[in-house]
């Protein structure tokens, strides 16, 4: 009964979404306020209905209702509760319901908090948002229905892929999807502006918070996925340039560019046409990511859907939305007015450079991901594009960008002074150079470019600090006064600086762990000792252990450092009884120097075990940096000036002031 309610709610949501698309659009054409007024309640109702459907599916998973085919195929009664809940989106059908739930959530948020938007704009935005919902609800109901019943109901389920039974992966999809789908807001606003044929600085002000929120979630989602790969896949890699990873990385790159170009549009009323195009591109890449992962075009751990009907359906959705939006853009863009003027060396100019490099880097990832698929489809030749390719194409574009980042905030709007900006950054540059020389003289091995990479990361962090010091005008004033001003800086200033510093932290982590990772691959017998990176590891043997839905064989390693006991690591091999498969759990000791990472392999002849020990220096900085970027985004979002309601209040205040005069 609960499942039927959910099924019914999902179909009703489709009906409401159709109403939400058609009537407001018609209303804006006829300038009929009553028709336009339908948009907001329809968006709220659509969200409520999809939430009911999602709750029904969740209930089926929590209560292990195996009469639902979807629950039977992806769950098991013995699975821990966290993974029963996460199981809802750990499969194709459920994850698509989560997708439309987040889509509807954003729509409902615009309906609820966007009351200060111009009426036409709000109606158009919600209509476009509604049309995306129509497409994906149709997709779910016709090709991926999670509410299909089984009769008779099986006694127990088939379980969830064990590598997915992990806390980081339980939360990874909701964050990733909030990021993907959040960019639909920028898309809807862009298309609404094109339908209307009007766009101004206020538009960017409304779009930026939504884009920022989506970007934050995507940043955290990608970081979580990479962290999971690091400790779960068992060899300490954190990025594979796997097509599925690239699918989430491309919207991130384009979204980062969009954040920066929207800034120019909001502050200086320039780059309008480009910002609109970028908004369309960003969401198009999100759609493409959904297509790549959901269609089964790429077969990997993530792609649990292998069904051509679905692939063609999503391809059609992509064609309609991307093609439609670009056609509308080509038709309307010449009518959009060009905004404020600026010199190449200026804050705007630096943000244009940012966009140039980010979008080209995104193009590099795009080509590297799709070219093998296209080539195979056209000629049948199979080629591989992996890490080495991206080192040659992606990295040369990103390095100049990273060098340029600290200059951007130091330049004035309209016309900047590069020499003055350089002078303000001199301390950061000198310290980064000292660090480079120090690292160069200290390193005994590793690539000669590594010290440069470390210096680049330090340059980004110190550049961000210099930015804050400059804004607080520390020069020519007392320290006390400087700190007082520092405290008074708007939160968005801290947000931007933190995000840039976080990027520097990520760079340091990636360079250090890539360049100076050390490893030992051994056949160890119990009581034997191995040494790596200053640690001594004594293998004490292997013992069996029972988990909630698995059995494991645990290797015990006593870790000492200079004779002092540090910790005991327990890497294991887990055999999942229901799913008939196994996972490897690494034993990881975290310290400020880096991670000691131990993996237990197979039993060899004569009682020895194959053991792999890695030391990954500073690897934690990769995810710590991503977290800092997330917090920076959050600070910016909480800034009074960026709050969604702020434009109205500011305008009301200025109108009041004008009236008083």
């Amino acid at each position: 009964m609960i499942a039927e309610t959910g099924h019914y709610a999902l179909i009703l949501a489709l009906g409401v979404a159709i109403v939400q698309t058609v009537l407001p659009l018609w209303g804006t054409r006829r300038h009929d306020p009553q028709l336009m007024a339908i948009a907001a309640p329809a968006a709220q109702m659509q969200f409520l209905l999809i939430a009911i459907a999602f709750a029904a599916l969740m209930t089926a998973y929590v209560t292990s209702d195996f009469s639902l085919q979807n629950v039977w195929a992806n769950s098991h009664s013995a699975k821990p509760m966290l993974y029963k809940i996460a199981g809802v989106w750990g499969n194709h059908e459920g994850s698509m319901v989560l997708w439309v739930l987040i889509l509807a959530l954003f729509g409902a948020a615009v309906a609820t908090y966007g009351t200060n938007l111009p009426r036409e704009l709000q109606a158009n935005v919600l209509a476009v948002q509604g049309s995306i919902a129509v497409a994906f609800l149709l997709f779910i109901i016709t090709t991926s229905n999670p509410f299909v019943r089984l009769d008779p109901a099986p006694l127990d389920g088939q379980g969830l892929n064990p590598v997915l039974q992990d806390p980081a992966l339980a939360f990874h999809p909701p964050f990733l999807y909030t990021g993907y789908v959040g960019f639909s807001m920028a898309f809807s606003f862009a298309v609404a502006a094109l339908i209307d044929g009007r766009i101004d600085a206020a538009w960017a002000r409304w779009v930026r918070p939504w884009t920022l929120a989506a970007w934050m979630c995507l940043t955290l989602g990608i970081a979580m996925g990479s962290w999971w790969a690091y400790y779960e896949l068992g060899w300490g890699g954190f990025w594979f340039w796997d097509p599925v990873e690239n699918a989430s990385f491309m919207p991130w790159l384009a979204g980062t560019a969009l954040l920066h170009s929207a800034l120019v549009m909001e502050k200086r009323d320039a780059l309008k046409v480009w910002t609109i195009l970028l908004a369309i591109i960003t969401f198009s890449l999100s759609l493409m990511g959904t297509f790549l992962v959901r269609s089964g075009v790429l077969t990997s751990v993530h792609a649990f859907a292998v069904d051509p009907a679905r692939g063609i359906f999503i391809l059609a959705i992509m064609g309609v939305f991307i093609g439609g939006a670009l056609a509308l853009f080509a038709f309307r863009a010449p009518q959009l007015s060009q905004g404020g003027l600026f010199a190449p060396i200026s804050r705007e100019g630096s943000l244009v450079l940012n966009n140039l490099l980010l979008t080209t880097a995104c193009a590099a990832v795009f080509v590297g991901t799709l070219y093998p698929l296209a080539l195979e489809a056209v000629t049948g030749d199979k080629i591989s594009v992996g890490g080495p390719f991206f080192n040659y194409t992606f990295v040369p574009l990103i390095v100049p960008l990273l060098i340029a980042v600290p200059f951007g905030p130091m330049l004035a709007w309209k016309r900047g002074d590069i020499v003055a900006a350089g002078q303000r950054l001199i301390a950061a540059a000198v310290l980064a150079l000292i660090a480079m020389v120090a690292v160069f003289s200290w390193q005994q091995r590793g690539p000669w470019l590594a010290p440069f990479g470390i210096a680049l990361g330090i340059w980004l962090v110190l550049g961000a600090l210099s930015d804050l010091a400059f804004r607080a005008r520390f020069h020519g004033t007392s320290w006390r006064e400087g700190f007082r001003r520092l405290g008074n800086l708007p939160r968005s200033a801290y947000g931007g600086a933190l995000a840039h510093a976080g990027l520097g932290v990520v760079v340091i982590g990636i360079v250090a762990t890539t360049a100076w990772r050390s490893e030992a691959i051994l056949a160890m017998k119990p009581k034997e000792t191995a040494a790596l990176a200053g640690y001594e590891l004594t293998f004490q043997g292997v013992a069996p252990r029972e988990g909630p839905n698995y059995r494991e064989r645990v290797g015990v390693f006593k870790v000492t450092r200079g004779g002092q006991e540090v910790t005991t690591l327990q890497p294991s091999k887990r055999a999942f009884t229901v799913e008939q498969s196994s996972t490897t759990e690494a034993g990881i000791h975290v310290s400020w120097r880096g991670d000691l990472y131990v993996v237990l392999g197979d039993e060899l002849k004569n009682g020895a075990y194959s053991v792999r020990i890695y030391f990954n220096p500073l690897v934690r900085l990769i995810w710590l940096g991503a977290l800092v970027m997330f917090i920076g985004g959050g600070l910016s979002l909480s800034d009074r000036r960026l709050r969604v309601g702020a434009p109205k209040r500011a305008r009301a205040a200025s109108e009041g002031l004008a009236a008083a005069k």
Partner: protein, 169 residues
Amino acid sequence: MRTRSILDHNFRSLGRNALIAVFAALILIQGAVSAKAVEPDEVLKDPQLEARARHISEGLRCLVCQNQSIDDSAAPLAKDLRLLVRERLKAGDTDQEIEDFVVARYGEFVLLKPRFELHTLILWLATPVVFLAALIALVLFYRRRAAASGPASLSKAEQRRLKQLLDEQ
């Protein structure tokens, strides 16, 4: 000669795509990448040779995995390929010779960095072309804006009026 026989076995099976598919499916079910990669018994005695082996391995794709190098992969086929690389190294081949040898047997699919050839022209040139095109567009954008930003010239009517005013004086 145990390794040789395993290799032969795999070469024969390589032709049979069905077996590869089963392989791929098995590995996917097993969670794609359980932690194995290089085994202790594979490591070469000579550290310099071993370092070269690792470097070569990082650029070779495990044929039945998702974008993983044979250096990271646990698949049996990856192990065979690692052993093959090490055997060629011991026989005194150069890195390039080994790459050619592997490509001759398994096809270009095995290289994680595709070679620069006719059919990969677009792949390699797309990024620089996009970058250059964007750069040219940007320069044109700035030049057009600079030209447009000069003082606006007078319209025909304004010129007539100006002439009229001057004539009046």
